[in-house]
Symmetry: C2
Subunit: 342 residues, 2 copies
């Protein structure tokens, strides 16, 4: 049915081996023979069967990317970065949307012969797959977006604007190993000598979308403690929080300042425009893909791009001077149930 190497060989009056040699440019071939082959390829509109090739070479140039929430636009940019780099190198990438990386999922991928996998699953759910000897990359200490500087910039601004009671909406549980952004945030508070207010750190069950942000802001409003600023673990949650604050009649930034994280395109279009920590996910995606390739082909010694990608604090209208608090000393305020802290 499909035209194969054999057909080309016959038409060009050469062996199938020779066809391989000219197509892959893997051995010297007389120009004359070469032309004959190429002409036949053209004439027959021949296209190699990559499956057969993969079986023989043990390489598919097919990688998988596991993502937990394919709907988060943040991952969209990441994917574009991954695919951009992949395309350059002749790789194809399958995006699988799963909540946690299981051995079965990885097994299936191995069976399908993928050359490697990119895990974009937000830290917690990454298990150890080293025994499968399938090249795997994910954000690590040496290859990641670093939010630290940007978070420090944000907290510094908060301090300069007089904010002392700053909330954090996490979405994720705060009890376990705390989220990196949360750690950076706490470090920044300490560094700028702003007292931590654990009762203002709202955790969650893992969801980090608008609804989770709305919900978290609701709990924050009902926690009985005052606050003048809110930092959310991502923009989606900030959007949800903005809505809840608005419903509560609070003006942003007059009554409360809000900062998100990621820098998704919508963040510039909220009302008021949302300050955020802009990450360059496209770049991160590219870097992850290149890292993966160099793990697949250690000998290629790819020029690796920047490995630590600095996020940037982007100040927009959702941040302003802290309003005056009621002034009731904290120890005299009515008791409230503190949230868990990391």
């Amino acid at each position: 049915m499909a035209v194969t190497r054999k057909d080309v060989a016959k038409m060009a009056n050469v062996s199938v081996a020779t066809v391989s040699y000219v197509i892959n440019n893997t051995k010297n071939v007389t120009p004359e023979v070469r032309k004959r082959v190429l002409d036949a390829v053209d004439a027959l509109n021949y296209h190699p069967n990559l499956l057969a090739k993969s079986l023989a070479t043990r390489e598919t140039r097919h990688v998988a990317m596991l993502v937990d929430n394919i709907q988060n636009p943040h991952y969209g940019r990441l994917m574009r970065g991954v695919q951009h780099a992949a395309e350059q190198e002749g790789y194809i990438v399958s995006v699988l949307s799963i909540n946690y990386s299981t051995r079965e999922a990885m097994r299936e991928l191995v069976s399908r012969g993928v050359d490697g996998v990119i895990l974009a699953l937000g830290g917690y759910s990454i298990r150890d797959f080293s025994d499968m000897n399938l090249p795997t990359v994910y954000e690590t200490a040496t290859l990641q977006t670093s939010y630290r500087k940007a978070i420090f910039d944000m907290v510094r601004l908060f301090r300069d604007l007089g904010h002392r009671r700053i909330a954090f909406l996490s979405g994720l549980p705060l009890t376990e190993r705390p989220h990196v952004r949360f750690r950076d945030f706490m470090d920044a508070l300490q560094s700028f000598r702003i007292e931590m207010c654990p009762e203002l750190f709202i955790d969650g069950d893992g969801a980090t979308d608008e609804a989770a942000g709305y919900e978290a802001a609701d709990r924050l409003l009902n926690c009985g403690s005052e606050f003048t600023a809110v930092f959310t673990v991502n923009d989606l949650m900030a959007i949800g929080a903005l809505k809840r604050l608005w419903e509560a009649g609070l003006k942003v930034p007059a009554d409360v300042s809000v900062v998100g994280c990621d820098g998704i395109s919508s963040s510039a279009y909220t009302i008021p425009p949302l300050s955020t920590i802009q990450s360059h996910s496209f770049k991160l995606g590219e870097a992850l893909m290149l890292q993966l390739i160099s793990q697949i082909h250690p000998e290629r010694e790819l020029a690796m791009p920047v490995q630590i990608i600095e996020a940037k604090f982007v100040e927009r209208e959702s941040v302003g001077p802290a309003r005056k608090l009621s002034g009731v000393p904290r120890f005299l305020q009515q008791p409230h149930s503190p949230n868990q802290t990391g």
Copy 2:
């Protein structure tokens, strides 16, 4: 290196053929032999090489999905639907983000042996690939999300609320074959005897994100004609438009009503909450995938789910009664350059 069928055969003291038979359940095998094989599979932790299998069976259970803007959350839901159905049927799907479907892209996919492809490219950019005999599906007259009823519901409400000058922000060019949603919209206007205002139909160059919506709203504000309602081709554009209207000091819905389309999760969190035409993209994704499978395996006679998926008009606070217009008869207003109409 990897354990193959041969190893299993040796350990179980049978031929490789027999191993195939028990693994694929494709022939009767003595329970006793069967057990021997299964035990060997277990003991060796054998997993079949799907590449080799595909080469032999000419089936990969691998499909590709081409998407133009992987960042639009609308496509995120579509993908989840596709993947959900795919998973059920043992398929894996590769998502490629491309702007237009080229023959080369399709060729590559054919070479890689994908069983079929799903085109989610927004109509215009779909060429004819029937000559490649690669099963292909996309939204068609018989399998699609229908916005018509919902759009009629919206226009009816507009009419009841006194709106007579309704703008449309398209994002896409209006000159060529008009977008289905636009056609439905015009039909609805006519049906409810609302005069069309072509000068309020703002086209675009193809971008349909927040920036495009902002930009289109800007042009609308400067077109010199009054309007009391705006319908945008998707929610992203509505979000951008909302922002521009807000900047212009217009209150939504007091001064102008706004309705988006798609029903992305953010739409419920804009300020004010955005009325929208909610599509069930997940369902559409499932249906497309099933359709593709039944095209790949005509003999399987899959129970096809609903083929026309009705979108639903969701009324939220962004819609209200029309404000009183200035009252200057239209033919006396200062001249303006009308936009192109479809």
